[in-house]
Symmetry: D2
Subunit: 245 residues, 4 copies
């Protein structure tokens, strides 16, 4: 890259990071789940509902990531390789979420896999849509926040660990993930810098960043609502998590 391009990329990333910050702030501001964690009031059932939904969308991450490469015909070899390589690395991560859920004390035979909550399904649907249509670069907007979310959520994870007195081995999804993802975050950044050439490219990435993070926020809200049903013994789908009380 020439100096000009570096400057441009830097200012583009500054805009992106500003949006990222704003999106997280919006999510935090309205999230009852976040508030409950921050106030040290989370219980195992709430965390378990969250892990279950994390399992649900994570199950599709490698698949929709690979789908970008399957359908994108006019992109460079390095971006294609990234799509398939990244998919390889994401494969099977959903099992960490299940593992952590079981480690809370749920007997294996009590485990059920209910369908995803509606807001989780909307997130999953959106990620496939973004991967299957439009600018093939735009899914990078999801990876951009997903792989660098630890700055924002690490304090929450720490608080969950403290409140529920968990050991690191019970938080593999977040802890192992945070290490894997440092690398990914760097690759995602490089992919964006190398491939986004037009205003439209940067705009498409930004838009997916905002929309997917908002849909994640919706999922978190619905996790909380399901938890409230669970507490009132009215949950139709996640009742099996009541054992964790």
């Amino acid at each position: 890259m020439s100096t000009d391009e570096v400057v441009t990329a830097a200012s583009r990333f500054a805009v992106l990071d500003k949006k990222l910050k704003k999106s997280w702030e919006d999510l935090f501001a309205r999230s009852r789940l976040v508030k409950t964690i921050q106030e040290g009031r989370i219980d195992k059932r709430l965390y378990a509902v969250y892990l279950m939904e994390t399992y649900q969308y994570t199950l599709h991450n490698a698949r929709n990531q690979a789908l970008v490469g399957v359908r994108a015909l006019d992109v460079g070899v390095s971006y294609l390789k990234f799509c398939f390589e990244h998919a390889t690395e994401e494969t099977g991560h959903e099992h960490m979420a299940l593992h952590d859920m079981l480690s809370l004390g749920l007997p294996k035979e009590a485990l059920e896999i209910p369908p995803p909550l509606p807001a989780t399904e909307a997130l999953i649907a959106y990620l496939y849509w973004v991967s299957a249509t439009g600018n093939p670069l735009r899914r990078l907007g999801y990876s951009y926040w997903a792989e660098s979310s630890y700055d924002y959520i690490m304090p929450l994870i720490d608080k969950v660990r403290e409140t529920l007195e968990l050991k690191p081995a019970q938080m593999t999804f977040f802890i192992a993930h945070s290490k894997i993802d440092e690398d990914h975050a760097e690759q995602v950044r490089r992919m964006i810098a190398q491939n986004c050439k037009t205003d439209q490219d940067w705009h498409d990435v930004e838009r997916v960043l905002e929309t997917s993070l908002r849909l994640m926020g919706n999922m978190m809200e619905e996790v909380f609502a399901e938890y409230e049903l669970l507490r009132k013994e009215q949950s139709a789908t996640h009742a099996f998590l009541g054992l964790l009380k």
Copy 2:
């Protein structure tokens, strides 16, 4: 159908209609767009933003409807025919929304087609997902409310017409649609009655009913938010509708 089955279907529809009512009430309760209409404060720009987003998702309705038939391998001939026939009938309806928007006084050369708002894109994505995966019957849950929504929204349409002093020829999407859809609603009901055989079938239809209507509510909220940006001259995408003030 035997008498038993008729009874069962009737009670199933009663449950579905209760959910439908509840979903509309939730949507109405939180919708700033609905409130603005009810209070006679809607202006052409707000209606135009709504029509634009209606154009956006309607553009995909025939396509995702047909997709059900493309991918469903274990369904009966009558349901397959319904999918393709219904797709035929829905084809091109998006142009009515554009027509109505232009009839508000927007010069044809001023018309732009910005990308759908994020919440509209989430709705579109969800409808493709529902059509492409899972129980092939479940998209009927979307049709169920979409084709019978006139009970709920007709008072709003009347109020919009009155407030904006529109002629029927300026509301082709809603008025023409409401006639077409009486027939569709009956067909959709018949398809559900004939094809939903298990608890899971009814449940899947119900779930898509609720989720898609909620996503429509999200779209309506975002239409309102975009309108507020438009009023403050901060809309990045729908600024061309400012001409309608």
Copy 3:
């Protein structure tokens, strides 16, 4: 259409019809199935194998036809409507092939549905590929010969009927189809005339015409090869048709 366009379309169709004739001649020249029919040596088992493979690819015709409309975004409303309408009409036609096969004297309980023969699967795969990718008009090249094939194959059908002493009610697929398809053929022709605007469009249609007819020829060859296995009692998949000897 102006006079010029009519002239052009006429000369375009003349080229297409020449290719069509050539393709059928090539198919006839190499086809052992055709030769066997023409020489009055067809037996019920051979006809039944052919009907079974006809069932197999016909099962997908409505689906891949609708797929064109699902994925084509830049085509006119009339072509979209045609895709979905045509899909509606093709739905369920595969059952006529099964019906005719059973009417040869196969007991219903003896009926098996083996997987399609490899050449049949290659044809099915190609039709989905053509429908899912490339010029959305190109599938018309398949419809062009499929809907107007009766000139070429009617003498064969008559010969089959005569040799096997079949009644019209035992040949519903071909006889009913030939009536339905007169209309379709006219619509297909109109769609081609209205939508093919560039050399590339006409060329893409022509290419699919030739390729799909050649793949159909391959299927017919493999039907014959399977019949030979059946006669030698070596067919792994179609042995149940041995009952028809």
Copy 4:
């Protein structure tokens, strides 16, 4: 694996290898391209047409390989990882075919990329179909011969090199590929051994092996036919390769 399973796998592979041998023998027996190579009569234009079609289908190999992982929901993590990893490794290999073609003496500015020949497109279509539908293991049948084809084709490659007096650097596709593929072949074998559990699994793999190799044979025949057109200056699409005479 227990001893029993090892025995079974060994006998299964023996069957597969017998089919493989038979399929290659059939291909060799009818191939005018193979005969021309064996008799030392290949010229650069024929080799170039072959490389062009190799480019065409190779362009899709990584994509359809990844597609298996995108759509397969009930397979183990190790098979999913294999799909995405293998896709990563296959990415960009088509450029080797182009490189080798240019190295024959074609000026870069003369290079055209015509659409694939019909038989090549049928092969591409089939590989997507196999990857998108049916038993998710079955694409391994294609990999099984594609990654281990060097025993069969190395004598041909040697003969081409000798006849056209090529250096290894002019045959990167085949030579580099043959090294990469030893590893792949081993992985493919392991994936088959680990994942094929039922008769149906083995049968599905075998069937794709035979069908895809036959479609490759069809492609080779059509390469030869196109070369004959080229020699008579009648090739509509590959005329630019006439420069290599």
